[in-house]
Symmetry: C2
Subunit: 141 residues, 2 copies
Amino acid sequence: MAASFALDPRLAADTVLVADGPLSQLRLMDDARFPWLVLVPRVAGAVEWIDLDGAQQRLLLAEINLAGQLLRAQGPVHKLNIGALGNIVRQLHVHVLARQEGDAAWPGPAWGSGTATRYSPEARGQLLADLRQTLPTLPAG
Amino acid sequence: MAASFALDPRLAADTVLVADGPLSQLRLMDDARFPWLVLVPRVAGAVEWIDLDGAQQRLLLAEINLAGQLLRAQGPVHKLNIGALGNIVRQLHVHVLARQEGDAAWPGPAWGSGTATRYSPEARGQLLADLRQTLPTLPAG
């Protein structure tokens, strides 16, 4: 019997679910320093993007587009950063985050930079509501 | 008249051409610490992956697959790292690099970590020859 998808405990601790996409969970990184989304394909055992099959890869690409548009809808973005690393958490996950000149890690990568600043429950709830309200207004990937 | 594609001078200084793909230049980062490829779409003015059109995005995805397979063909890879940052060099470029536990930046990102160790001309020439010989043996994306 194939193993079923289960979210890595570290991803579960660091992020909150925004919505389910066709392939992936769309999650918000709980770090107020950066507007930061994480896509986690609901594919049991997936580690490398290039090991997904072609249809899954294209779905993930469409979700990356959606995540980028969602971040742009929240405000101006100097640069989107997209990354699939997985050196620490092996479960396949793709980061899509909005960078601003002068932000907490600029111009370096956000990954591994400093310590996350958690949102207040109120701020996180408001941001999640904003993101969920914006999602249906975006063009499908 | 539309501007034509020109490689960013910093990318030109840090990388060497391996081969031309359907969309992108496939280039080797001249840093012996990591087996590290960079894809630079030959699209004038391109900055963000999600601003490419759908056909270009799918070509880039296929090239990322190819780059990953090319790295794996050189030897065991603990983890592929894929990143599109562009905080310093705005011209769209996607990194595909092979990470090993205990490498010079492990488990952090390679981007912005330490100083590049240039290949010797002999080692670089040999690696380029190996990569170019392997390329045609890989399945098309």
